[in-house]
């Protein structure tokens, strides 16, 4: 009886993970584009990006989620109505969650990637050009491996914060691990047990991610000279 509930709750962890992975991909894409825009020479582009990052950092995740899930469709539907179109927009909690988390952590990734790009000495890129390497080849074999190493601590941090932020999407009605834990808690009258299970799930993801990313970090800093002993 109790074990049925436990399997349901842990099974819903898959929904949380899917949400986290899709949002991560979105955030990395936004982050890469953002980092390139921040270095671009177009002033308008840089201003737009600055507005985006300040807005995302200034408003709580939960409020942004409510804005995307409730306010944005309301605004769209109202404008459709004034235009005389017969069309209703509604977002699913999953889509709204992915979009919001992608947007939020895209802003954080932008900062991480920009910092990493700045950390690569310009002389290396000039050297690559002097050797006749093309732009793609330069990015792929000179910039990218170093960028991964430099961006990894920030990336790890963003990922860990994002995994925890997925719990908020349960408040929009997504049937993730948090939502199921709440259901099981109410059905069995054992709230502490079920919230503890959900907490354990997130803790396990955190610890596994830390171990995995530490391994990646070791791989990518093989060529870095340490202190001589």
């Amino acid at each position: 009886m109790l074990s049925d509930y436990i399997t349901t709750v842990l099974g819903a962890g898959w929904v949380s993970l899917q949400l986290a992975f899709i949002s991560l991909v979105l955030a990395v894409v936004i982050g890469l584009l953002g980092a390139l825009c921040k270095r671009s020479e177009h002033r308008v582009l840089r201003y737009l990006l600055a507005i985006y990052t300040t807005f995302v950092r200034g408003v709580p995740d939960l409020v942004l989620m409510l804005l995307v899930f409730y306010s944005l469709p309301a605004l769209l539907n109202q404008s459709f109505e004034t235009l005389g179109w017969d069309y209703q927009v509604e977002f699913s909690p999953f889509a709204a969650g992915c979009a919001t988390l992608g947007l939020i952590f895209g802003a954080y990734m932008t900062e991480t990637f920009r910092g990493a790009l700045q950390g690569i000495p310009h002389g290396q890129i000039e050297a690559a050009q002097a050797y006749g390497l093309g732009r793609i080849r330069t990015f792929h074999s000179i910039v990218l491996p170093q960028m991964i190493r430099l961006a990894l601590p920030g990336f790890t941090n963003n990922w860990l914060v994002m995994v925890k932020a997925t719990a908020l999407v349960s408040l929009l009605g997504l049937q993730d691990i948090m939502f199921r834990a709440r259901g099981a808690a109410e059905a069995t009258g054992k709230p502490f047990t079920f919230y503890l299970i959900a907490g354990g799930f997130y803790l396990a993801i955190t610890v596994l991610s830390l171990l995995a990313l530490a391994w990646v970090g070791r791989r990518y800093s093989m060529g870095v000279r340490g202190l001589s002993r």
Partner: protein, 230 residues
Amino acid sequence: MSWDVIFENIGRFADGAKLTLLLMIIPLAIAFVLSVALALLRDSPRLWLRSLIGGYTLVFRGTPLLIQLFLIYYGLAEFDLLRESFIWPWLSSPLICVLIAFVLNTTAYTTEIFAGGLRHLPPGEIEAARAYGLSPWAQAKRILLPAMLTRSLSLYGNETIMMLHATSLASTITLMEITGVARNITLNYYIQFEPYVTAGCIYLVLTFILVGCFRFAEWRWAAYMQPRRG
């Protein structure tokens, strides 16, 4: 658009903002004292103390605040012993539960921030303090604390902003802070757009004020660590 609803309820938003600030400042103040003590002990030579503090920060930084909040507010009711004890009237109040959860959560983050600030301290400064014969207490007060606080000022600024944003979770357990007021208005007036936009704007303004304060604090107290210009 029905912005007049917002103007009618502007007083409620003001009350909400007051509660938000309260929910931010009280936990930050308590957590500050706790974290300074825990950070000094974080890298203690005693293994059990180190692992105890490390375990605490790992658990509270590794799980969502929403779960911690629900564990305290809904979860503790599972224990009959606690329900019959004299502290139950406090533990069943949402305000107390939110404050406990926020203190536990932000202490974990702040402890790591402060301990990180200490790790960047050049060993020579501590050795010099020892050579001058400063007692451990004087070392902590004159060398470790100032170094720790100035070095972690910008990260601590981020943490206070995170705390401000975390207060929005209090609305999930019936508290009427800014987000709670906005939710309540959407339910009462059937408008989805204006209340949340208003809430977002209030948070944005509060964040700007905080960022400004920390810029000033960094200029005032941590300027000596900036590379010299010109």
